[in-house]
């Protein structure tokens, strides 16, 4: 036990607890040890880390349009990437020691580190990289495996191994997003043998052979996953200041669905890391000496994507009214802590191209009401607006991947009620949420991380097999133009101009309704855990982590 307590105190505590039924107060009396977290002192070898996470329901086929926040945590420990992207989006060498951009960003040469092997002993050479690139760009239709969603696949031509450690990649038009995307958490390097397996066998995590600092030791689907360190690993990203084997012996991912239980289990010292805790608990946890990391990924902010093809968000006035009818500051003050900041665009603030459109996102309920009045929405007896006999209402489902979205959505429902919009809530878990996203209700919460702004084109419209988040298809000429322009720009300056236009346009049209800068991955850590770093996708690197005495 961590805080040895005399039996009498325990009993008295018990009596107090029973009497006052202070059921869930966490470790009230324990003195706060000095705060720690980032590496101080010499790393210590050994140790077993227990990581509590909501669930693993997504399966283990590596290449799919998006990788869930949960699976992404585990993938990051058993695989490597060609490029390392740090928290600021800075790129540095990893498996690719260096790279060149040729012919106006239509060709690239990757020079690979030598001597890297997959955990089954086979070499991670140029041929293996080509196999991975082909899959990311095109998927494998024969096996029913889709391409990696944000990979620039539409203009990808081919990749060739010019020798065992050099890969030459060809695109049909400029692909500025290519190199940054190699640091994305979906572009993980797996053994060619793994990639050739039939779908069912790829779903078996044991068959996923990577080159990462940990390998899969044992697992029970939906329950626990044990990784152990690879003793011969020596190709970690230089940016982390450590390239040898991991310090920790094992990492155990354990599924605990309940947020309060995950938190309390770490607080009581029975586990080391809890993923996604309740933001409003952070302050008290920090006061008790626990580390709480709120890394922000490069990507889209928290907020809503709008289905423009159905009632009531097919009305631009409604979309705009919602845009200015949400009080983002109140959300920050109420649901989140000072670790969060308001969105200034629908892209995260740490993306270099993100502009400040705060004036478009300012809270202005009068303007919202004016918009709705002008569009013919009249306030009915129950306080909600009506037009042509239809009440202005829609249903929101809080995103189960993001902490606190239920409280956030409840608050938004209250805010929109004051301008006469009725918001119903439907609470679902991760498996139910998949169906909601497939359904695309009027407003749905979805986000995506990316490393390069050029890749956003992949979700805006239906061009080139895009994900068409807003259900516009190719109907919005201006958006088509901007989207194509961004995907195929040949230099960063002209692209930045387009990105600026795009953000302005999307926010004005109310296609995307951002709320706050997204923290999708929160880590609560034991005070003894040192040396944890975070990459640009906001995943923790436990490769460099160690336990102090």
């Amino acid at each position: 036990m961590k805080n040895p307590t005399p039996l009498r105190r325990v009993l008295r505590g018990l009596a107090v607890v029973v009497a006052s039924t202070a059921l869930l107060a966490a470790c009230a009396g324990s003195a706060a040890p000095a705060a720690s977290g980032t590496g101080t002192g010499e790393p210590v070898e050994g140790g077993d880390l227990t990581f509590l996470i909501q669930g693993y329901d997504g399966g283990w086929v590596s290449s799919k349009s998006s990788i869930s926040s949960y699976e992404g945590n585990l993938w990051g420990e058993i695989t490597d990437k060609l490029v390392y992207a740090d928290e600021a989006g800075e790129l540095s060498p990893w498996i690719a020691e260096s790279w060149e951009e040729l012919n106006g960003a239509t060709e690239f040469v990757l020079n690979l580190k030598e001597g890297v092997t997959f955990s089954d002993g086979s070499p991670l050479d140029a041929a293996a990289v080509v196999a991975n690139l082909d899959l990311w760009a095109k998927g494998n239709p024969d096996l029913g495996i889709p391409k990696v969603g944000l990979f620039p696949g539409s203009n990808y031509d081919r990749a060739e191994a010019t020798d065992s450690s050099t890969v030459h990649v060809y695109f049909s038009s400029p692909a500025l997003g290519f190199i940054p995307t190699l640091g994305y958490h979906g572009t993980i390097l797996l053994s060619p043998e793994t990639l050739a397996l039939p779908l069912e066998e790829q779903a078996d995590l044991t068959n996923q052979i990577g080159s990462g600092p940990f390998t899969v030791k044992s697992w029970e689907q939906g329950d626990s996953y044990v990784l152990q360190k690879r003793a011969d690993y020596e190709w970690g990203p230089e940016a982390l200041g450590h390239t040898g084997p991991a310090y920790l012996d094992t990492i155990t991912y354990k599924v605990i669905k309940d947020t309060a239980v995950r938190t309390s289990t770490v607080v009581s010292g029975q586990a080391d890391v809890a993923f996604n805790i309740e933001p409003q608990e952070i302050e008290s946890l920090k006061a008790q000496g626990f580390g709480v990391a709120t890394p922000r990924y490069l990507g889209f902010t928290d907020g809503f994507q709008v289905n423009t093809s159905i009632f009531p968000t097919n009305d631009v006035a409604v979309r705009q009214a919602i845009q200015s009818g949400i009080d983002r500051q109140e959300i920050l003050d109420t649901v989140y802590t000072e670790d969060w900041t308001a969105a200034t665009s629908f892209l995260q603030g740490n993306v270099p191209e993100t502009g400040d459109y705060s004036d478009l996102l300012a809270y202005d309920p009068e303007a919202s009401e004016q918009l709705l009045d002008d569009a013919g929405w009249t306030v009915g007896a129950d306080g909600y607006r009506v037009k042509d006999g239809q009440t202005l209402e829609f249903t929101l489902s809080p995103n189960p991947y993001v902490p606190s979205t239920q409280a956030e959505d409840e608050l938004i429902a209250q805010q929109l009620k004051t301008i006469g919009i009725k918001v119903n809530l439907k609470v679902v878990d991760v498996s139910g949420y998949a169906a909601i996203q497939a359904d695309k209700p009027p407003l749905f919460q979805t986000s995506r991380s990316f490393v390069d702004v050029g890749t956003v084109a992949g979700v805006l419209t239906s061009q080139n097999g895009g994900e068409d988040w807003w259900k516009l298809g190719t109907s919005d000429e201006k958006l088509n133009e901007l989207s194509t322009g961004i995907a195929t720009a040949s230099d960063r300056e002209s692209r930045a101009v387009l990105a600026d236009d795009l953000q302005q346009y999307v926010l004005e049209q109310g296609y995307s309704i951002p709320t706050v800068q997204l923290v999708q991955r929160l880590y609560l850590t034991n005070p003894k855990l040192q040396g944890v770093s975070f990459n640009g996708l906001a995943y923790a690197n436990f490769y460099t982590a160690w336990f102090s005495e």
Binding site: V10, L14, T21, P146, L199, I256, S264, T265, A438
Partner: protein, 327 residues
């Protein structure tokens, strides 16, 4: 007696089979009242990555392209031959999912049953024989209290106290002996209440019976009396009740397993409900009915042998709650 008992046993067994089949039909009807079509909805979820051909194959397997009544008979036919179908969520055979979940739930329910019986006997004994008026009076109100606290509140309190504060067990390992004990405790508390009540009532009744008075005049100690004369006859209605209680344990397992993070039948149900996994729901409910009916049948067949006062003809005429009465 054997001839008459044999006929009785046969009749009861036949009725048990009918009840199981009807329970399956009832569940099928309840689930097919569903607005919308959970099976094809789930199949078409792009996350499942099924091709149109595969969807058609599964639709054909479940006979979803046919009329409801035909679907019912197809489904019933598969059930009778032991084919429980495939989970829509994980695509695994339902029988395998049940098999994987069953041991955990059996450990939980078994421990809970044991605890419930122990509590009930302790409460009943104390209520009957503790000296004075205060202690027995308080004990008599314990079942009522036990019946008033929601299962989930008991679970939350036990976890907070014993896992997070006293570190007696950890939620990370919910199948450990100690964790199982506390989960079982959560389940046992509400279940022990009616058991204790009926024991108390029976003890009150039996202790007024003459043969007890006679025995007492012979100078037997209270405890030996309790053990020798009272428990056995008092246990008889309790045996019949065990069947009902087994059902309650299965139902209560949904909440208990969810709270304690155990992978059992209860969490299987909980997940199946959120993902509208119809074959799993259908199978679990049918399994529960089978367990109930079989335990009940056993109780009915054993009771007449335990106590000669309950001859088959009398047993058959009983209207005790919980006992399936032959018509």
């Amino acid at each position: 007696m054997t001839g008459r008992y044999g006929r009785y046993a046969l009749l009861r067994a036949a009725q048990a089979v009918i009840v199981i089949l009807l329970a399956y039909v009832l569940t099928f009807l309840v689930i097919s009242v569903l607005p919308g079509d959970p099976i094809t909805n789930t199949l078409r979820d792009p996350q499942n990555g099924l091709s149109e051909d595969e969807i058609q194959q599964i639709v054909a397997h479940y006979g979803l392209d046919k009329q409801a009544i035909i679907q019912l008979f197809l489904s019933l036919g598969r059930f009778v031959t032991g084919d429980l179908g495939f989970s829509l969520q994980s695509n695994l055979p339902v029988a395998q999912l049940l098999g994987d979940s069953l041991p955990s739930t059996l450990a939980l329910a078994g421990t809970a049953l044991l605890l419930a019986v122990v509590f009930a006997v302790v409460i009943a004994y104390g209520a009957q024989y503790l000296p004075g008026r205060v202690a027995p009076g308080l004990l008599r109100s314990v079942p009522s209290l036990f019946l008033s606290v929601p299962n989930f509140v008991i679970g939350l309190v036990l976890i907070e106290l014993f896992a997070f504060r006293l570190h007696a067990f950890t939620i990370i390992d919910p199948d450990s002996a100690v964790a199982t004990f506390f989960a079982a405790l959560t389940l046992a508390i509400p279940v022990s209440a009616p058991l204790a009540e009926i024991l108390i009532a029976n003890l009150d009744h039996e202790s007024r019976q003459e043969y007890v008075l006679v025995a007492r005049s012979r100078g037997l100690t209270k405890t030996r009396l309790f053990a020798r004369h009272l428990v056995k006859p008092s246990m008889l209605p309790a045996v019949a009740m065990v069947a009902l209680i087994v059902g309650e344990l299965l139902g209560g397992a949904v909440i208990t397993e969810t709270i304690f993070g155990r992978d059992g039948i209860g969490t299987l149900v909980q997940k199946a409900v959120t993902s509208q996994d119809v074959p799993v729901l259908q199978a679990v409910v049918s399994l529960a009915a089978v367990v109930f009916v079989v335990v009940n049948l056993a109780a009915d067949l054993v009771s007449p042998l335990l106590d000669p006062r309950l001859q088959p003809d009398r047993a058959a005429a009983r209207t005790e709650p919980g006992v399936v009465v032959p018509a």
